[in-house]
């Protein structure tokens, strides 16, 4: 479980995040929503120990991330960034193997090879194993990075939960792969020790797949809870300055904007 208490973050005089307290439980898809500039990425960076908040603390289980070493953290926590640039002609399997880097010192073990193999199978990229990464399309690259990130935390840790942090993972993906990816996340969640936190822009996708939503606006926590608690007319109007039509039937919940 990730527990953040009273996080505040400022750059100069500008307050990016103000007094945010949230917690993310394992076995759920936790999604962070909010308009551009609401502080979503900053919050994710704080969870990843990339940025140090001026106030507040983040706990992974009982452990303050400030007291966790980079190496230790990398063994249980994988991050998919918004845009990963890789300008070298590596093979796809070499890119995925990067994910195992925290687990071996010089040469990958059979266990690492197996994790890479299984992760590639899981994300349907195993037929590209020996292809040059640079020749892939944007969507294919993204799927390779999914495999890389997931291979990093492929095996359960003895020390507790594993964490998967996704900063806008669905960019470059068409609808088919967006849905496929969300279904894969669901499948991964069958492993009970996995905590998934993601930033997503598509509200309908969030309504369909998220178990727990966080809505940020202007660096403040606007709402948190299930989709019916968060995706309300009032909240949407405050955050996005647009009036939604919310449609709710047995097939799910949809938002339309006019």
């Amino acid at each position: 479980m990730i527990q953040a208490n009273n996080i505040s973050y400022r750059i100069g005089n500008k307050t990016i995040l103000k007094d945010i307290s949230v917690s993310f439980e394992p076995g759920k898809i936790n999604l962070i929503l909010g308009p551009n500039g609401a502080g979503k990425s900053t919050l994710v960076k704080i969870f990843c120990n990339q940025l140090k908040p001026q106030e507040g603390t983040v706990f992974f289980e009982e452990k303050n991330i400030r007291d966790t070493s980079i190496v230790e953290l990398a063994k249980v926590r994988a991050v998919l960034s918004q845009n990963t640039e890789l300008a070298f002609p590596l093979k796809v399997k070499e890119v995925v193997m990067m994910g195992r880097y925290p687990h071996f010192s010089v040469n990958p073990t059979a266990k690492d090879e197996q994790a890479v193999q299984e992760a590639m199978q899981f994300f349907d990229v195993e037929e590209m194993t020996d292809r040059d990464y640079l020749t892939l399309s944007g969507g294919e690259k993204q799927r390779v990075h999914f495999a890389r990130v997931v291979s990093q935390i492929w095996y359960p840790s003895e020390k507790g939960c594993r964490y998967l942090v996704l900063d806008e993972p669905l960019t470059f993906l068409d609808v088919h792969y967006q849905f496929q990816f969300m279904h894969k996340l669901r499948e991964l969640l069958k492993q009970q020790d996995l905590v998934i936190v993601g930033v997503v822009h598509d509200l309908n996708l969030a309504a369909k797949f998220a178990d727990h939503l966080i809505l940020l606006n202007n660096g403040r926590l606007l709402a948190t809870g299930t989709k019916t608690e968060v995706l309300t007319k009032d909240n949407m109007k405050t955050a996005y300055r647009l009036e939604p039509v919310i449609h709710n039937d047995e097939r799910g919940m949809y938002l339309f904007f006019e």
Partner: protein, 114 residues
């Protein structure tokens, strides 16, 4: 290869790694310069030249830098022995005369990156 941020996510301590690399580099450059003087200037130009020719794939870069560096130094040595025959011109002068203009040219190229 994948960027500093990503490397950190993969458990690499960027700060200490940077210092280690810097330290090793400084020692290597200092020793080389102390022994042979400004000849080691070729080390500045050759890898940059090769990057322009064929990008920064290190598998290609390291091997060919050694090759081209050797060739360049041989040519410079030849010139330094021939220009003021029978006297010898210090080779450092030749490498600098050739190297400095190239280096300035490189610095002016704005869209040049690794």
């Amino acid at each position: 290869m994948i960027g500093e941020e990503e490397a950190q996510f993969l458990g690499v301590n960027i700060k200490s790694l940077k210092w280690k690399i810097l330290l090793i580099n400084v020692i290597m450059v200092a020793v080389a310069t102390a022994f042979v003087g400004v000849i080691s200037f070729v080390g500045l130009i050759v890898p940059h030249l090769l990057r322009i020719i064929n990008g920064s794939d290190n598998r290609f870069l390291i091997r060919n830098s050694a090759l081209l560096g050797g060739i360049l130094l041989c040519v410079a040595d030849l010139i330094s022995r021939m220009v003021l025959r029978p006297a010898e011109l210090p080779i450092g002068i030749v490498t600098s005369v050739v190297g400095v203009p190239i280096f300035i040219l490189l610095l002016q190229r704005k869209n040049y990156f690794f």
